[in-house]
């Protein structure tokens, strides 16, 4: 699905990712953990195509295509979805209009006909159930006036609507109470299939109680320094990152 090979990126001349390697296959769930400033959110931003970051070396192939050559919107249309750590508010633009525009642009890109209004509304009703999102929220402006939990649920709702191949959840669990966390995580699990993959970027092990990863990676100092089974997350939760820092510090 996605193969990241020796990725180096910097921002304002400061190197953040220093040769990162990662491969995710269809049907897999990967968790990326690491201390603050390790480069976790940078990785998400770079994959989604944020222009502030400079790619100084490395390759990323996504579904056989050179991801780094694609524009942000084409990456999205190819099926890469980023659940934002801080979802953006767009006043005056309804969630529904926003999603219909997104969905139809994707369909147009893929050479499909636009979705009919009827089918679209049915889809909104079906998918909003997955994240127990009040369908009224669908008619409100994108993320405007949403609580923290509603914003994160809205991200997963959008993910359900856009049916991505690869979903990257950037700290989706931060700032959530346990109920919201359960809803979000259950939503993600329901959307999981043989054909898609998920990268979960997180700080806390608790999310991984709900979204069980096939692999846990430790990102530190711009590189993946350790990979293990889901138990690694428990170990990190217990012992913190100091031992990682001690082992891999410069």
């Amino acid at each position: 699905m996605i193969k990241i090979d020796n990725l180096h990126t910097s921002i304002n001349g400061k190197e953040i990712l220093k040769g990162l390697n990662l491969e995710v296959k269809a049907g897999e769930v990967h968790a990326i953990m690491g201390p603050n400033g390790a480069g976790k959110s940078t990785l998400a931003s770079v994959l989604a195509g944020r222009e502030e970051y400079e790619i100084t070396d490395g390759n990323v192939t996504f579904d056989g295509k050179d991801l780094l050559e694609l524009s942000t919107e084409d990456r999205a249309r190819e099926g890469l979805f980023l659940a934002f750590q801080y979802p953006v508010e767009i006043p005056g633009v309804s969630n529904v209009n926003f999603l219909r525009t997104a969905l139809n642009e994707k369909r147009e890109y893929l050479g499909q006909d636009p979705i009919s209004a009827k089918d679209f509304m049915q889809m909104v009703r079906d998918k909003s159930k997955i994240v127990e999102l009040d369908s009224k929220l669908a008619n409100r402006s994108v993320n405007e006036g949403f609580s923290g939990g509603e914003k994160k649920r809205n991200e997963i709702f959008q993910m359900a609507m856009l049916e991505p191949k690869l979903a990257i959840l950037d700290e989706t669990d931060s700032g959530l109470d346990i109920d919201a966390l359960r809803i979000v995580a259950t939503g993600v699990t329901k959307l999981k299939s043989e054909d898609n993959a998920t990268i979960v970027i997180t700080h806390y092990q608790r999310l991984l109680d709900y979204i069980v990863p096939d692999y846990v990676h430790v990102l530190y100092n711009g590189r993946i320094v350790k990979t293990g089974p889901k138990e690694l997350a428990l170990e990190l939760e217990e012992k913190g990152y100091d031992w990682i820092k001690a082992e891999f510090g410069e």
Partner: protein, 483 residues
Amino acid sequence: MAYTENELAKDLQNQEYKFGFVTNIEADQAPKGLNEDIIRFISAKKNEPEWLLEYRLNAFKTWLQMTEPEWAHVHYEKPNFQDIIYYSAPKQKKKYESWDDVEPELKETMKKLGISMDEQQRLTGTNVAVDFVMDSVSVATSFKAKLNELGIIFCSFSDAVQEHPELVKKYMGTVVPHTDNFYAALNSAVFTDGSFCYIPKGVRCPMELSTYFRINEGGTGQFERTLVVADEGAYVSYLEGCTAPQRDENQLHAAVVELIALDNAEIKYSTVQNWYPGDAEGKGGVFNFVTKRGLCEKNAKISWTQVETGSAVTWKYPSCILKGENSIGEFYSVAVTNNYQQADTGTKMIHLGKNTKSTIISKGISAGKSHNSYRGLVQIHKNAANARNFSQCDSLLMGDTCGAHTFPYIECKNSSAKIEHEATTSKIGEDQIFYCLQRGISEEKAISLIVNGYCKEVLNQLPMEFAVEAQKLLAISLEGSVG
């Protein structure tokens, strides 16, 4: 809001000014220039009564004493008033008795503008009565018969002068006197046509009344006059659309609009202004110097809504005089400027009566090398106890070569009044664009979404057909402005 994505996409491909075509009809013109003889020529041409000629000549004398205002935040080469043709009528073979009599070229013009005068078609579709004014002369008015049944008068200004002189004489110039300002004086001297509308006591006009204005001839000015009178307890929603062909020289448009809402009456006046804005180098375009004002008697309400995307230079302040107790004035505006356009627009809310209320929502969007200024006056007079005003003026900047300016004037002479004014200036958020991009939405579409969202409070005030048209216009106007 109905927002057809495909239509928008199609329109977006057409970057050029969409309405820039010239209709080829032999025109009946006055010679260039302005003097008493020209005014007499216009008046004679229109077979006007003596009092109206007097009114014009008076206005002309006043105008000669006046100087062009310079306080607005706009810079342009002053028009040479002797180099303008003040009367240019599409040459009529005879007076139009029905739609069938209209020349095919003219019908084609309207078709291109998206105006259907076919009443049958209109009846099955939307419910809008249209008056079409080309180069200062009203060409055709639809739905006349149906409106007549209710006692509603909706006709060209010239017809009103002939058929309802008492009404015209009673109300014309009562809200915008010919001494009001330079352009109002000019208009009062040389106006050629426009629309007239009278809704009798207690009648609720069942359909939107609409006037389309178009400048066609080169070197002509358009000086139309609109007068809308809603008698006690009446209601009307009035729409105004404006377009002009692409021309290298500047064309002058100096209109006067007067609204009178008598006790308990309500007038909703919506404008979508899309005069030719000039090309990307700032050449050509319409000078739009318009005086619009409404008078509210007791419990009356006047609501101005405007979407302004056209014109090279705009100078326009639709205003409300809240004379009667409990009267309400509203102003909702979206003004978009791109390339070298300049707009100095806003409103005046004059609170004279007790318990009067006004609301101002202004959304300015500047792109390219344009300048967009909000200028608004809220004036609370001594006797306007418990007057309330809320103003919100937001400016959105796209690109770093444009300007957004806010000049509110707040004058309060009554201690029980409450006035609130808020303004913000910001740029289109990069975060917002990135968020849209990540969801697969193209940048152009993202901007269109964000801008339409930003203007929503104003667009929501427009009748449905106009709202869709306005959204498309916004997208076209801002095409290519963020890079």
